[in-house]
Symmetry: C2
Subunit: 253 residues, 2 copies
């Protein structure tokens, strides 16, 4: 804890320096759910391979400098698009990291976290294969098999995962991973991948039905065993309450 009383404010020295030497970057922890064969899907993150110092040969979060005429959230959305070619289903500010020693030069990073729909990611990587070219130096990693990371990016990813796991408990963020129609098993598997534990299908069903955020369709997914009803999101309800923050802060115009 912190606490206590200080000397009178008159004695406190005010630094003369202004902050022009500080550069401001935007980075994003981009998350999706990757189907892994017929096993449970797993959380995955795209990282950028660094070819220059500092931290040459290590992997970093996608990001870039915040342009003079650009809001931080726009930098996040822009660099996310440059890296993946996609627009996120969810985008939220994570934290502003600004410790003096977090980089050899003074950089404050305003970090966002984003969710991508798994069908978008699959379609995009198929398009890259078809076109014969994919973004250079970008690779996807399972969150529990990350490579050596640059700067404080390992801590940042850990914090983003903590926030995701927290938020999934009291919001609908998990829906951000799913296509427009999905079964309750799809949704439950998303929750299980995020939380890392098994959920009872019967109780899960009742909980999401009681929440009233799902619209049942007349369609079913067949294939094996008893067909499962497909549901749509009730798009009247936000994926997560943002409180009184301006809508511009978390969505894209």
């Amino acid at each position: 804890m912190v606490g206590g009383t200080l000397r009178s404010s008159a004695e406190v020295k005010v630094p003369e320096t202004r902050s022009e030497e500080i550069r401001v970057a935007g980075s994003t922890v981009i998350l999706t759910l990757r189907p892994s064969g017929d096993a449970a899907p797993r959380l995955a993150i795209p990282l950028v391979h660094r070819t220059r110092e500092p931290f040459a040969d290590r992997w970093a979060l996608p990001g870039g400098w915040i342009a003079a005429d650009e809001s931080p959230v726009d930098t996040a959305a822009r660099t996310l698009a440059e890296t993946t070619g996609l627009a996120p289903s969810y985008l939220e500010q994570l934290y502003a990291f600004g410790a003096v020693d977090r980089s050899p030069t003074r950089v404050i990073s305003i970090v966002y976290w984003a969710l991508l729909r798994q069908d978008d990611v699959i379609a995009q990587s198929a398009a890259h294969v078809a076109a014969g070219r994919a973004p250079e130096n970008v690779e996807w990693f399972d969150v529990d098999a990350l490579p050596a990371l640059a700067f404080d990016h390992a801590d940042i990813i850990e914090y983003a995962l903590w926030r995701l796991r927290n938020k999934v408990g009291y919001s609908r963020v998990a829906h951000g991973f799913l296509p427009s129609e999905f079964t309750l098993s799809d949704l439950r598997e998303a929750y299980e991948a995020i939380l890392g534990r098994h959920l009872d299908p019967a109780n899960f069903r009742r909980q999401v039905e009681a929440a009233g955020n799902l619209i049942p369709t007349d369609r079913f997914r067949t294939g094996s065993h008893r067909p499962a009803r497909l549901y749509r999101d009730n798009t009247d309800v936000e994926l997560a309450a943002r409180g009184p923050l301006s809508p511009a802060e978390t969505s894209i115009r």
Copy 2:
């Protein structure tokens, strides 16, 4: 919601501008509980009267530029001390506000929120009266009677209050307002002031007792009616879980 697929990343233009034109400020929403006569205590915030453009004659959050060798949290703690002469019992990053048009010049503000113990505030203002001088241009306002505010500071305060009200439900932040020994009524009044509604004393007692964060003392507050037992905080437990964020991010070295 956001969603959708974009053009290939090869077509996205990268701005040439770097971020040297952006200045970075730190501001803090400082909250305390002010006893208002014998009525219920109320949430209050210190604000700084602006004497220069932009927004001359309006009121602003305490803050300043982040120095080149200073972490954002240190800027928050420093400007908080300059404004109030006190150290906070709780300090947490609120949000980085960076919309392009939020200030006539380009400024990104990393905003913190802090709690002050009400006994610290009372002692400090008594000291100011005794010394015959108090910080210039600083005045305390009830949160539901705020003056005309500069920049986007009204929105920022609204967001800070939303965060406080949320956090009080799943953490012990309300303890940050109280002295080291307090009665359960003191604590309940803090919760009531934050949430803006009455809480059942009997149920409140059982809840905080069950949480196990309070240590009963042998002392009682006498004065009127039946004496009330005094409690201390269990300082082994943090006021609020910060997740995997470094301890440096929310406490003062």
